[in-house]
Assembly symmetry: C2
Homo-oligomer: 431 residues x 2
């Protein structure tokens, strides 16, 4: 049965996923003559670059989230639906979803990336990830609960299990998480948990290659590494994690590290949407698109952002899976849909690299903007400004800004709440 959405006679564009790409596309089309349907499994847009601050109790989820319905309140051609897409039926121009069948004239796939565990089931089951607000909150709850358990644990070895943390993956997420954990260890633990010896908290950052922040200039990786080591993070490069049994993290060099928490930030892959032809996907499950974001081999299906792989001379592997390509592709596709209305010719996508950056903590960051390199305080200010600017919602900007100012001057915040869903299992160190 078709899902409950009025047929208005307008051409219908169905967007799957309201991340950076899908959301900007929808917002740019609100004044068009298309009927726009956005389907997402959540009812809010999440600002992924700041998940790690939610996990570290630095920000509230609501400050980095924006309800889709609020974004589209004033527009009659916009329909939002919470739903999960099961399959594309391209012969009938239909999506099969858990809320019914959705017909489309144009389909845009922008459902993003997910964590890649490289087939390791044990890690998938036991590791923490930070790819959604819920996951970030789950990590926050566990982190704080484990500190509470450590306070009352007399046995040294068992206490280490509660305290030690291994972060896997030296990209921006891994670097930012390790940096934030180190700040918590330095500024928060000695005040909140006087009875704990914060020196007992070991924070590891493991990276498979010989350099951190692989996508950036090598000097940035070196700077980040220096900052992290200054903060006491144990950085191990050329260290590939092979397994995790909940007690020890095992590496390819036969080392093992005892830790109750493994945070996995070692790579992403994509969901393989049912119904699309095999040859549509590359080996990391990204959907191959041409320079108009059109999915190879389909007339009216498009893909944007992390899930799309647009091979160009400059980007033979596709664009980096970060916010900017998604945003710019979304804007370009919106422009092209508007051209289509007017019978004009579509414009190819042209990526403008606005730079990349990562923060290691207060006053410490690295940034690369328009070919210029920054580090330290100035890079950190740039990082703050760019992220504040990119956040959706005036109130979100205000609340994040106040939080950051507050935290900067107090070296502290007051979000360290363990709000458990009723049924969270109790964590115990292995006997």
């Amino acid at each position: 049965m078709p899902v409950n959405i009025p047929e208005t006679g307008q051409k219908r564009i169905v967007i799957v996923g309201g991340g950076f790409g899908g959301l900007i596309l929808a917002r740019k089309l609100v004044k068009s003559n298309y009927q726009i349907i956005l389907i997402d499994k959540r009812n809010f847009h999440q600002f992924q670059p700041l998940f790690y601050q939610v996990a570290m109790a630095g920000l509230e989820p609501s400050s980095i989230s924006f309800p889709f319905r609020k974004a589209f309140q004033d527009h009659d051609n916009m329909y939002f639906r919470v739903g999960k897409v099961h399959e594309v039926d391209s012969n009938n121009n239909q999506l099969k979803t858990d809320i019914g069948v959705v017909n489309y004239d144009y389909l845009v796939l922008s459902y993003g990336a997910k964590t890649n565990f490289f087939g390791n089931k044990a890690i998938e089951e036991k590791a923490f990830t930070i790819k959604s607000t819920s996951q970030a909150l789950n990590l926050r709850n566990t982190l704080l609960t484990d500190y509470e358990k450590a306070v009352v644990e007399r046995d040294f070895e068992r206490r280490q299990w509660f305290l030690d943390i291994v972060v896997v993956g030296g990209g921006p997420t891994g670097v930012e998480v390790a940096g934030a954990l180190a700040e918590m260890k330095k500024y928060i633990l000695p005040k909140d948990y006087k009875e704990l010896d914060s020196k007992e908290v070991d924070i590891y950052l493991l990276q498979g290659t010989d350099q951190l922040l692989m996508g950036m200039d090598p000097t940035h990786g070196d700077t980040a590494e220096k900052y992290l080591k200054q903060r006491g993070v144990i950085v191990k490069k050329n260290t590939r994690v092979t397994d995790y049994d909940g007690e020890y993290v095992y590496t390819a060099d036969d080392e093992k590290i005892k830790a109750g928490k493994l945070i996995w930030a070692a790579g992403v892959t994509c969901h393989r949407m049912e119904g699309l032809r095999e040859e549509t996907f590359n080996k990391r499950n990204r959907i191959l698109v041409d320079e108009f974001s059109q999915v190879v081999g389909y007339d009216n299906i498009y893909a944007l952002g992390d899930v799309a792989c647009m091979i160009t001379e400059e980007y033979p592997q596709g664009h980096p899976q970060i916010a900017q390509p998604a945003i710019q592709q979304g804007k370009n596709l919106a422009r092209n849909f508007r051209k289509e209305e007017k019978g004009k010719e579509w414009k190819k996508f042209d990526y403008r690299d606005l730079g990349t950056m990562a923060t290691i903590g207060r006053n410490k960051a690295v940034a690369e903007i328009g070919g210029m390199k920054f580090k330290g305080f100035i890079a950190w200010l740039i990082w703050l400004f760019v992220h504040l600017y990119a956040l959706i919602g005036a109130k979100n900007k205000l609340f994040v800004f106040i939080n950051w100012i507050w935290n900067y001057f107090t070296y502290d915040q007051s979000l360290r709440l363990i709000i458990n869903p009723k049924d969270q299992n109790e964590r115990r160190p292995p006997e």
Copy 2:
């Protein structure tokens, strides 16, 4: 094995529960020569009077919560522990808890009240309650998820199940929840859910007696009822709920009301702490104390707030189970412990009634202060001011203030996020 807390030779006061009473007691004793141990099952103080605004997506949990450890950062005689108390062993001056045995010299029980289902298991299992932050969030998630389900539900009857809400209990909580639901129906639904006919949303408030706000002057109950009816709430007095099967709410008059959500705010009882003598409790499980808050029949055990029942001439049933008696009893007991240090005589508790109030929504409230009665806009301002003032933490005050101002002028906020713990079950109307 005794819990991991240093024995300092100081007299030890153990406080069970960091609500209004327990927290103020602990804070007033930070500069004493006692060793203070606060045990709570959560790691944060919750501001109960605003739970309902969390449930209605008006405030974030963090804005009305304060981590205990942060409250005690600067004090060496304070120890906080997350733990559940199983039993009092008064012969040995010990508490048995899930984190080990805790010895005490003085024990203070301030673990508050819990929802009273009057023995009805079906209601206990299926109803929503708002007695904790988690419960408030659970209600918020369900409310928003049900609106999403209603949008795609074509069948009228099934849609009503998702939309209609029965609030049971006409005390301040029930009145405030019903008022907030009516505001959501009036201001939010027509904007966020254009496709829903908000007239389909029925909000019931059922009260067992012939008056709302029983603890206050009867005119306030009448005013509240008038306000609620203006907002479209169906107020039914003299209506006692007897059962709920998840589909229909049944009343003593053999009426049945179809509703997918029953919010139970019909009364409180207390946990019956193991190890205390039978005759310590009254029939609502409150602990009988004398005018020094000392538990009847015990030398070194005290009780404060909702769980304590201090029978006086003016309050033959004990003080009302609201914030003020807890706060004032906590302050008085702190003063008496300080007197004890100096060998001075203890002072009897003298309750100063600062008044009661309830809000029905923007510009609408009733308040009774120092014998004076207020209603409408002025009562609403008083309500806002008093609650803002009572909140703990400067940042909390600031954030709640900004939120309220924002919501007042925009008639809207942006906290309508469904952040589900992974395992929440899908809700479906009965077939």
